[in-house]
């Protein structure tokens, strides 16, 4: 047991840093209703700024720290407040996409500045240790623990005793009333963002010495804080703090344990995501209240009526696809991959566009499909049967993810899918039954009827056409009509006698099927497949960001647009040899996604019901407003 004592100390130390990030996240979410997926990226940027000032420019650590926190806090606090303000009335999907766009942009900027390789991050805290109860403790750890505790206690006192703190708690209940009692709601929100973002910056700077200057790892570390925030119901700071510390103790202890038990080796990294998914999966109804959902506009997008695939559009597209092997011989594999991604796009748009649900784990379904088809072929199945089997195997996985989707919507569903994707990536992908028991990629084979690059390329659009046919069948059939109806007015559909809870499940299953097939097609293209091909961050996130760029919501995107997006995501990067330009392309995607989210709230054909309109509803105080209707004493920052 005493072997594990040091693990507790380091767990508490790591937990304190994650707790700081998580508390900042909760704070800004509660005050604005926008869940900041870019929180970790902001922490990474802060680490970068500190690195610049302290290590490169040689400023004293304390001065560098102050400049970093003030600059990052103010710049991003003000920026995020504006973005949050403008997307407050957007759909849940667009809210999620807006901060994902910022996350992608910041990560690319970070990578352009500091490169993709982890740099050693100099320690700026005292490295001496002392012994207490036979445990070697670093002063650094003591400082971090004290800082986490001080901020948690300080914020709790701030919320209880200051006008601004009380205002931040109150603004969740009723932003308009905050205005009526003489506090400027914008000021309250802005300071909530500044504090929240500053917390992310503190976490970024203090964690960096342990893991080095690496944008992706820093970003992911804050995502671990999402689990802590979930334990705190995305509202209570003390519980969030406690959750973060407990999770990180768990990570440290299982990390130590797995050193002697190799089968446990992926548990530590998967634990935080498993916690997040389980909390979302098991939380009782009404336990998690989506903040700011009541401010959402009832947007009426009048769809375009004619939806026939005209020969005028189809002929040039088919001609182009036929011509690809002749035009782009040098990059055939990239173009084939691009074609596969069109199928992934189709699968995602089934969820995001038709069913109005955000999925951030599409690559996970693809990974399941890829592994399934490999094993099926390995067991002697014909290639085409294995392809179908890959889709079918993915269906139960889709159904499993959909369990939270039955009750959760909007940002919580996005978080559930994100955590599921990250859990699968860190845990299941490591299992021998997925990608084998050694780190080498699996060798995949092409079907006998399409061995050549050209033949394999031509096969993909044919499979794609079948998938498109299935999607269109769903879109135009009863299910499509039901999903559109549910997106427009769930309450009306329910009152007609439809059990709407099961509709998202069906949509997820169909989407998983298509993604599974796409996954199975990926490997044989280059001959090998490995877990690294299916990363949730950034590929799944980029897919979602790209999906919203084309066309209007609520319709399966046109084939041409999906093709364009796939080319941008997969084919174009193959032509770019410079790392910086590659990051620049991602930056462009990120910025465009933010722009798309902002534009969705000012699209011309929307009819807005202003928030808090004196609806002709017979209101019993606290009954009609979903936020106010939380159980008494329920969800507020305590």
């Amino acid at each position: 047991m005493t072997d594990y004592l040091p693990m507790f100390v380091s767990g508490i130390a790591d937990g304190s840093v994650v707790a700081i990030a998580a508390m900042g996240l909760v704070l800004s979410y509660k005050a604005s209703g926008i869940f900041n997926f870019a929180h970790g990226a902001i922490g990474a940027v802060a680490a970068g700024v500190f690195y610049q000032l302290y290590h490169l420019n040689g400023l004293p650590a304390w001065l560098a720290l102050i400049i970093t926190l003030v600059a990052v806090g103010l710049v991003f606090g003000f920026l995020m407040e504006r973005v949050a303000y403008f997307v407050a009335s957007a759909s849940a999907t667009m809210k999620v996409v807006s901060t994902i766009g910022i996350m992608i942009s910041l990560s690319s900027l970070f990578n352009i500045r500091y490169g993709g390789i982890t740099k050693e991050f100099p320690s700026f805290l005292p490295q001496e240790t002392f012994t207490f109860l036979d445990v070697n403790i670093a002063y650094e750890q003591v400082i971090v623990i004290a800082l986490g505790l001080a901020l948690a206690i300080g914020m709790t006192i701030f919320f209880r005793t200051t006008l601004l703190g009380r205002g931040m708690r109150a603004i969740v209940d009723d932003p308009q009333l905050v205005g009526l009692i003489g506090l400027n709601p914008t000021t309250v929100r802005r300071w909530a963002w500044v504090i929240g973002v500053t917390f992310a910056a503190i976490a970024g700077v203090f964690i960096a010495p342990n893991i080095g200057l690496d944008g992706t790892t820093l970003t992911l570390l804050v995502v671990e804080g999402f689990g802590a925030a979930a334990i705190g119901r995305f509202s209570s700071l003390p519980l969030t703090y406690l959750g973060a510390v407990l999770i990180q103790i768990g990570v440290a202890v299982t990390g130590k344990y797995s050193a002697d038990h190799p089968s446990w080796q992926s548990v530590p990294s998967a634990l935080p995501f498993a916690v997040l998914f389980l909390v979302l999966l098991l939380s009782p109804k009404g336990w998690l209240v989506e903040v700011g959902a009541s401010l959402q506009q009832r947007v009426t997008t009048i769809p375009n009526q004619s939806r026939k695939i005209g020969a005028a559009k189809l002929v040039p597209m088919v001609a182009f696809i036929i011509a690809v092997p002749y035009l782009f011989q040098d990059h055939m594999l990239a173009w084939t991959k691009g074609m596969v991604f069109v199928i992934l796009m189709l699968s995602l748009s089934l969820l995001v566009r038709l069913s109005n649900q955000v999925s951030l784990c599409q690559m996970t379904f693809a990974a399941v499909g890829a592994a399934a088809s490999y094993h099926l072929i390995d067991h002697g199945m014909p290639w085409s049967v294995a392809l179908l089997g890959a889709g079918l195997v993915a269906i139960p996985i889709g159904a499993f993810v959909a369990i939270p989707a039955v009750r959760l919507s909007g940002v919580y569903l996005a978080l559930a899918t994100l955590s599921f994707g990250l859990f699968m990536q860190t845990f299941m992908f490591e299992m021998p039954f997925m990608f084998g028991d050694n780190p080498l990629p699996l060798i995949t084979s092409r079907p006998s009827f399409a061995e050549s690059d050209k033949a394999y390329f031509y096969m993909i659009p044919i499979v794609g056409a079948l998938c498109y046919g299935l999607v269109r069948l769903i879109e135009r059939g009863r299910l499509g009509q039901l999903l559109r109806s549910k997106a427009d007015s769930p309450i009306a559909l329910e009152s007609l006698g439809v059990n709407i809870a099961l509709l998202p499940l069906v949509a997820f299953c169909a989407a998983a099927f298509l993604a599974g097939i796409a996954g199975a097609l990926l490997g044989p293209n280059i001959g090998v497949v490995s877990k690294g091909d299916f990363h949730t961050i950034p590929t799944s996130l980029l897919l979602v960001a790209l999906l919203v760029l084309n066309g209007r919501e609520r319709r399966i995107g046109s084939l041409g647009a999906s093709l364009g997006a796939a080319i941008g995501l997969v084919v174009l990067p193959e032509y770019i040899t410079s790392y910086d330009w590659l990051q620049g392309l991602n930056l462009l995607f990120g910025v465009l996604a933010v722009e798309a989210a902002l534009a969705s709230t000012r699209s011309s054909k929307t009819k807005a019901v202003p928030p808090g309109e004196p609806a002709p509803i017979e209101t019993v105080p606290g009954s009609s407003d979903p936020v106010a209707a939380t159980p008494v004493g329920g969800s507020h920052v305590q």
Partner: protein
């Protein structure tokens, strides 16, 4: 004190909720807005406290044009709007509500004053405001009007859904505000209460003022019922 001149607002450009409405609340007076559901009374109050943007017209407060101000700026000028049924933060404790209401004074002093106004507050002070009964919520919301020493208070349906005995208590407090010289603009659907109390009455229907005058000029109960219940009464 407060004047609305030719005010037009609408949630969409197509439908206007208030159409060229004018009304004024003189210094230290009690003005009541009556009318059936959907007449635009609440919208009038929300427009006056600058929660709803103007399409045309002008609003002045103590002679100053306030058409472009935000609600929190109006509040600082001394206008206190107690919205319908929503004047409190249900998830916060009663104490935190009072501390928020009494900006600029120490929270303990605000709490003392609130208890002075309504004794029940003392026993509920650490409970979430959402657990209060309808009448208690309304009284807590009214406490704000007392703490912030406003020049004018806008009250929206303070008696809605409350039992008559509670309404008596609420009105006693409102009378106290009026006696202290605070101007009142109140929306009320119960006629009898306000006609004994108001200096001036506006009767609204369909976003327009249909009657303006003293309670005395308002006429008999039957006439008012006619406005509320419509022609059905005559059948």
């Amino acid at each position: 004190m407060l004047e609305l001149e030719n005010v037009t607002v609408g949630y969409t450009s197509a439908s206007k909720t208030l159409d060229g409405l004018s009304l004024s609340v003189p210094d230290g007076s009690v003005v009541a807005l009556l009318g059936p559901n959907g007449a635009g009374k609440t919208t009038t109050l929300r427009t006056a406290s600058r929660m709803i943007p103007l399409q045309s017209g002008r609003i002045t407060f103590e002679g100053k044009d306030v058409s472009k101000l935000a609600p929190h700026q109006m509040s600082k000028l001394g206008l206190c709007h107690v919205p319908e049924g929503r004047g409190i933060f249900p998830a916060l404790s009663v104490r935190d509500n009072i501390a928020l209401f009494g900006r600029g004074m120490p929270p303990s002093e605000a709490v003392d004053k609130a208890i002075d106004a309504f004794a029940f507050i003392e026993h509920r002070i650490d409970l979430p405001a959402g657990s209060l009964s309808g009448g208690e919520r309304q009284m807590l919301a009214l406490v704000r009007a007392w703490l912030t020493r406003p020049k004018i208070v806008l009250l929206d349906e303070v008696s809605m859904g409350l039992a008559p005995l509670i309404v008596d208590e609420v009105y006693a407090f409102i009378r106290r505000l009026a006696e202290e010289g605070i101007s009142l603009l109140m929306v009320e659907q119960y006629v009898d209460r306000v006609r004994r109390f108001a200096d001036h009455i506006y009767l609204m229907r369909s976003g327009e003022i249909r009657f303006s005058g003293t309670p005395h000029e308002l006429g008999s109960e039957e006439d008012i019922l006619g406005h509320y219940l419509g022609a059905a009464l005559q059948e």
